[in-house]
């Protein structure tokens, strides 16, 4: 069981209010991702749940029990840190066994569980090595192994993949998702990478300046962002925002159109512009188009689409794919 409830949680460091007030429910077994730009308070929120920071006011409940003043060791949560935070003086075996040793398990149980975890994570051949002798991906797996052996109520991940190279990051993303499907334990995952958030989460919590901007499934956030911030943050490449004379035609102060929702034509359309850069990715082509009186608009076309700098193109938003925003950046 791993249901976590935050009520009116507030955190200030000295004079600075990092988290004004947050209410959030995380259901048992859910994979929740906290996403937001750096400094938005997502890591602080995770550390508050972990107990590594004390809340200034508010209540944190784990499985219905008030855990606000419970020390981290007794909250029954496990955490994977960005730096892995492995114990450098212990072998992989001892690293993974450490939480069990602290919990007072006997030696046989410890050995059995460590072997099982090592098996799941492909670490069996490395059990006697020190962390310093492992690659980044292996270290990451040791950190995960250390977290799973104790069968915690929930796993907390603090940007666990940001120290890995792109290829490895993709693999580990998949491994963590599979692990969640296998264990069905609550996972809270902090990242600034919206691709990780979109691909892994059951539920995404978008944070900005210590406030929750929106909570929802990845597709809900993609299709129906509540405001300018979420609309701009979720989706890659970023949504185009157009204001000025063109927005009132759609009965809004600003309109947002995703690059993949623009129809391109050489004959005619709503806006006309000149291709400034065309990026061919093989599967896709990203076009940066300078539109008169609007500025640069990014468009996404198929890999076969051919356009060269200087070409004139017409752009038209697809039906029903225009996000209309008011002067305060709220979606209408």
């Amino acid at each position: 069981m791993g249901k976590i409830t935050l009520s009116n949680v507030n955190k200030t460091f000295g004079e600075t209010e990092v988290i004004p007030s947050i209410d959030l429910e995380i259901e048992d077994g859910e994979f929740v991702v906290f996403v937001g730009p750096s400094g938005c308070g997502k890591s602080t929120l995770l550390r508050l749940i972990a107990g590594l920071e004390d809340v200034t006011s508010g209540i944190i409940k784990i499985n219905g029990k008030d855990a606000t003043r419970v020390p981290p060791a007794l909250r029954g949560l496990a955490m994977v840190f960005q730096s892995y935070a492995l114990y450098p003086h212990m072998s992989v075996r001892k690293n993974i066994a450490f939480p069990l040793k602290m919990a007072g398990f006997n030696k046989e149980d410890i050995d059995q569980r460590v072997e099982a975890a090592a098996n799941v994570l492909n670490l069996t051949d490395y059990l006697e090595r020190r962390p310093g002798q492992l690659s980044g991906g292996q270290r990451q797996r040791v950190a995960i192994g250390r977290a799973i052996v104790r069968e915690p109520a929930a796993f907390l991940f603090d940007e666990p993949l940001s120290n890995l190279d792109a290829a490895l990051r993709g693999n580990m993303r998949l491994e963590i998702t599979e692990l969640h499907q296998k264990l069905k334990t609550t996972m809270i995952y902090v990242t600034h990478d919206q691709v990780e958030a979109m691909t892994m989460a059951d539920k995404i919590v978008v944070l900005n300046a210590g406030r929750i901007e929106q909570v929802g499934t990845p597709l809900e956030l993609y299709r129906n962002p509540r405001n300018l911030f979420v609309a701009g943050f979720i989706g890659s490449p970023k949504m185009n925002f157009i204001s000025g004379n063109h927005a009132p035609k759609f009965d809004a102060d600003t309109i947002g159109v995703r690059p993949e929702h623009l129809k391109l034509s050489t004959d005619g359309g709503l806006w006309e512009g000149t291709v400034s850069v065309s990026e061919h990715l093989g599967s896709d082509t990203f076009l940066h188009i300078k539109v008169d009186n609007i500025g640069t608009i990014n468009a996404r076309a198929g890999g076969e689409f051919s356009a060269h700098p200087g070409d004139r193109l017409w752009l038209t938003p697809e039906e029903g794919q225009v996000h209309r925003l008011d002067a305060n950046g709220q979606v209408l």
Binding site: P71, A73, F81, A85, Y87, P88, M102, R146
Partner: protein
Amino acid sequence: MARTVTRSHKTLVTVLAWMVGLAIFFPILWTILTSFKTEAEAIASPPSFLAFEWTLENYGDVHERSNYFRHFWNSVVISLGSTLLGLLIAIPAAWAMAFVPGKQTKNVLMWMLSTKMLPPVGVLIPIYLIFRDYGLLDTLSGLVIVLTLINLPIIIWMLYTYFKEIPGEILEAARMDGATLAAEIIHVLTPMALPGIASTLLLNIILAWNEAFWTLNLTAAKAAPLTAFIASYSSPEGLFYAKLSAASTMAIAPILIMGWFSQKQLVRGLTFGAVK
């Protein structure tokens, strides 16, 4: 442009370093040589460097006149006792300062260091009176206490510097793994800081071993360590250089040997963690 080091420059620096090293070591060497001379040769002018009649007579005399092993034992108890007691207090203190610093942590550290700037003689009388009233004069426990207090600021400073090098996330990981504060310090912090703790231990054993002000002033016969043993040879009856040298050599020999074997750790300790 990178600095170029020529061969002759290197040789010059090496020669200079050896000269400085020898100059520092010369008094110790002279003491050792004198200890093998007769009293007459010890004060002869001009002194002879190596061409004298080597004798072990002084060591025999010193051994007969006083109980070297009792003083040696006292020195061991005082230096080890005060260092271990100091570490026991300093490890949690340095943990607190390094990992949960408050607004006043820096000031507390500076204040602790400032106590080292006070001339010890300034507090001799109050401490002497406290020792007298509590029956601590000429006791090993009294000396252990006073030397612990004197070296505590240095121990805490050194450990603080070493602990600062340990990433806080690793200690947080231990906390998440269910470690209590004691378990965190014993299983994670201490093993990780072991090289630093070893340097601190060695340096403080040496400082305590060589400490002469308090050990001389607060002891008489029972608890007197090797410093008092040496001092007893500069007596009112006159100076016996050869015997004094023999006693000194015997007093510094154990620490010299220990220092020789732990050079590497000591150098690390003396650079206060500045060089990784």
